[in-house]
Symmetry: C2
């Protein structure tokens, strides 16, 4: 048996208002006055107080990015090319400010500023050869675990798959729960459920070990407090969900996700469904695999009066179903984690089609 | 308010038997065939299977260290001098294999191989100027949290105080619960209680935040499973206690310890009491400050039929009491965490003396 030598985020600040320390945190990492910090920022923050607080100096640059769609390999390549064209010399670093999309873009752009070719060339495990540029993750919504993960999930021309490498994790993360103030209810819920689902998939998986279990159990408890049965103030809720996301990310980092993620990747690849809501659409139908988790999930949707979209797959063609099924069945480690080496005895194309048809 | 930018251990392997991967893990860090890895190993492992599994190559060297006493600054300096004398050029790295003493020695020696003077010069906060040599922590007993901490606690000529710096944490930790097989019952309990006490002190402290709380709560749950109410196999118990130590260490790293540690530092400084048992001796008398924690502590000592030593302080002179009291009252952040800014209203020399007299 070979155990992973997991790369952890080597620096973390936690606290309400800690974003105000950003200048002090990144200044020692500036290579020169001509080597800017590039801030990739979700465009919902354009003309907001957060934009004004970004500590720009010299030729630092904010690039606003729309996160209505999942991050794409061509988007990463374009961002890299734009930066190289404008600044010639390599920047001092790349910072992502936003949700999972911005986290993943910042990680991927930092990798691609140091490695040749297209980001699509690196989708897979350990294909990156050179260390990424210094990169910082500053989440503004909690749940994805992208702030601690060893991957950056991109949709490419041929697949939706992460750049999974030792160079992917952030060099620095700033966890400021105040930045999550004002997230729309549905988005908050869907993204939070990404974390909840990480926990269920990790804790019930065959890859589980005491390391993952301890992180996953804590993250699950925190999700329960936030979504199921806690009586928290808004501040406490933001604090705890940010920690849930962190611990949930650590849990899957040292084990694996499962059925919901395997199927939601198919959905996202074909229909462009955003990851958070896609997971919810799938998980809603997984009573067979995660009875306790799905029971709690339904209690949480009830408590917060969230309508999970349905009827996405009703009008799909056979070819479209096949595409989804192929993408999903390609996620071998996820299925193996969920049900062991013999997973193909249960998960056939026909079985997947009948499950997708309910969504 | 200024939040800490905490340095986390950037690489971790977890798993029963993961020690066997050590060669593969450290090989890429070898600077040259002449730059050895120095293995600081608890001398209880002399002529054991573990010694034989240490992957020595080229001029790598094992130095056995006795851990019957707390680590000292002169011991660190001597180890450093011995290594420099024998190898001239700087080693590739320092590995600590053992309990908290070996963890702390490895961290301190790695720092002192890169910084001039005596380790006593660096006891305090952020006094280290140059990055330590590559250093690896491999715990063989669980509880201290030294594997994740930002400090290495040393007894110097003038004080017992940590070298607390961004360069202190290990570059790599190997968590192999199998290495904790065969630890004597008392030592297992005392060291495990170090973790339990970390949790109680962190979770009841005024420095608490959602980050520390999430780690502390999980570590406490794991301690309860191991010591209070779990029905675990020996393997599970070792796994879980190793994770408890890890999470407990993270919890205090982002908050602080409290009364038990403040008083046990005094005890160790004067009497050389080992940290684990010292904490237990003190905590046993802290019902006033930690009623719930002390209740559980007594249940745990009962369950495992552990006798906490008493009567240590009966024959001490006034001058000796004063020494202990001074060392203890010098631990300002610990007292502040335990009872807020006004701690001196409660904790007077007289109060401390009456408490020490019970021990």
């Amino acid at each position: 048996m070979n155990f992973r030598n997991f790369p952890m985020v080597p620096r973390v600040v936690f606290g309400r208002g800690s974003f105000d320390q950003l200048d002090e945190i990144i200044s020692p990492k500036r290579k020169s006055d001509n080597a800017p910090f590039i801030f990739l920022v979700d465009d919902i923050f354009k003309d907001t107080g957060l934009e004004k607080k970004i500590p720009l100096k010299h030729n630092d640059k904010i690039i606003f990015v729309n996160s209505d769609t999942e991050p794409k390999t061509f988007q990463v390549d374009t961002l890299r090319d734009t930066i190289v064209q404008e600044f010639g010399a390599l920047p001092s670093g790349v910072l992502g400010i936003g949700g999972g999309t911005l986290m993943d873009l910042a990680k991927a752009v930092a990798i691609m500023l140091a490695n040749p070719g297209s980001s699509a060339d690196y989708q897979g495990w350990d294909l990156v050869n050179k260390p990424a540029l210094y990169h910082v993750g500053i989440p503004t919504i909690s749940g994805t675990g992208a702030e601690v993960s060893r991957t950056t999930v991109l949709t490419g021309p041929e697949k939706k798959l992460g750049i999974n490498s030792d160079y992917t994790p952030f060099d620095q993360v700033v966890l400021d729960p105040d930045l999550c103030t004002g997230v729309p209810r549905n988005q908050w819920f869907y993204t939070g459920m990404d974390c909840f689902i990480h926990c269920i998939e990790s804790l019930t998986g065959t890859y589980l070990n005491a390391f993952s279990q301890s992180y996953g159990e804590k993250a699950l408890e925190l999700c329960h407090e936030v979504f199921l049965n806690g009586a928290l103030s808004e501040e406490e809720s933001r604090d705890k969900l940010m920690m849930a996301s962190w611990h949930g990310g650590m849990s899957i980092a040292y084990s694996q996700v499962g059925v919901a993620h395997a199927m939601s990747y198919g959905l996202s690849y074909l229909l462009g469904t955003r990851h958070g809501v896609g997971n919810c659409i799938v998980f809603d139908q997984l009573e067979e695999f995660y009875p306790e988790g799905v029971k709690n999930f339904k209690q949480m949707t009830d408590r917060y009066e969230i309508e999970i979209p349905r009827g996405l797959c009703g009008a799909l063609s056979d070819a479209e179903f096949d595409t989804m099924i192929n993408v999903s069945m390609g996620m071998v480690p996820l299925w193996e984690n969920a049900m062991g080496k013999d997973w193909k005895k249960v998960i056939t194309p026909g079985k997947l089609r009948s499950m997708y048809e309910k969504m």
